[in-house]
Symmetry: C2
Subunit: 229 residues, 2 copies
Amino acid sequence: MIRKTNRKSLVEQVAEQMEHLIEQREWKVGEKLPPEMELMEEFDVSRNTLREAIRALVHAGLLETKQGSGTIVRSTSVLGAALERHIKKSTMLETLEVRLALEKQAAQMAAEQRTEADLAMIKTYIDRSKNASVNQDLDQFIASDIQFHKTIVQASGNQLLVDLYEHMTDILYSFVHDFMVMKPSFPLEQEVHLGLFEAIQKQDENSAASYVEHDMEVLKENIITMMEE
Amino acid sequence: MIRKTNRKSLVEQVAEQMEHLIEQREWKVGEKLPPEMELMEEFDVSRNTLREAIRALVHAGLLETKQGSGTIVRSTSVLGAALERHIKKSTMLETLEVRLALEKQAAQMAAEQRTEADLAMIKTYIDRSKNASVNQDLDQFIASDIQFHKTIVQASGNQLLVDLYEHMTDILYSFVHDFMVMKPSFPLEQEVHLGLFEAIQKQDENSAASYVEHDMEVLKENIITMMEE
DNA sequence: CCATAAAATTTGTAGGATGATTGGGATATA
DNA sequence: TATATCCCAATCATCCTACAAATTTTATGG
């Protein structure tokens, strides 16, 4: 039997390797890549081939080149970069609506099939955010808040859902951060979080969904009033 | 005042133009592009520059090059291609779950803010699918069924939601097609569709959501049993 | 120490040369 | 005619060298 020519082009091979290095954080975000000459030797390809590979990742949003300076890592995920570019055209509000649609679905699925380990992890982040709230540590609060939400989505067991949600959260991070700095609503948040946790624990899908929905409504209203100011 | 160096790299300019040509369907999917020599003249750039631009779009999934043959258009959207690549790693079931999460959200939003024009359009596709059902025209039925769902999502007014949903639908098209060929459930579908339509018309969010949810459950069960066979 | 100029580094663009693969047309053969 | 094979032109893949443009680093003069 003759093997089909599955021989990928050199460019794609190099691009793939670089993508892998980025994904595995061996080349970290913000870091500068070795110059072209070194990479040529490292991958053992010509300058053209190397440059085409680099250009592919630049266009995808993973790298950024600056003439005279070098090439730096800009993002770690193709899907994330694609979403980011797309989301810039949409409004923040639209993005939040989609993100919370995903979370609502995730919460229902999580309620259905959460394990004890899931529950324990969710509880951990609730406790952490409570501590942060007591200590008035805003950064810590935001971090554990985001982790809380991510953990619920992870408990859904749907990897596509997880990826989309996390990318959106990452993209919205700076926005959410600014928002929470301006309007820190610790007690309300915690009440909702505890309610959501209990709903998932009791495997009450509807209740879980409506807690998330409630969260969404509050957030939307706050953002709208914030934008009007 | 000195203008900032808004001079994008030549490669990005060429890539942008090509992307635009593809998006505007001037270069159609499946069609062959002019050979490199011609494109070099047309864009007035060197071979390297042109090739880097092409490679960027190849990597993004919009183009496909075949040595000795030429370059053809493969897809029309960056987000679509990125999702497609990502979705191949996920299971069909996961993708469907996400897609229907988006639709559920869209149905609620549509119920809230649908216009008369939206309703008219939705009704149109219901009628079309009814006709197709009477005439036993499966392709027509599937087409109008998909349009029916898309129209509801469009009525949500959230462009990001629309884009994500449509890309997922496109990607799943062949799968859904095969599925419906195997298990054509005309009457049931229509009942649900009519119910969903009326819920949106009456602006009953909860009812709209639960119709979609019901749709999801039926679909999931069917797929699971289909996979077991 | 600081400002400025020169040098080195690094990416951007151009053009040419050769190899590899494909597709189609010409040719030969049954 | 039909078919199989070979050959060639078209096309992309890779490599090479050269120079331009932008940035960073180093050297220099005060």
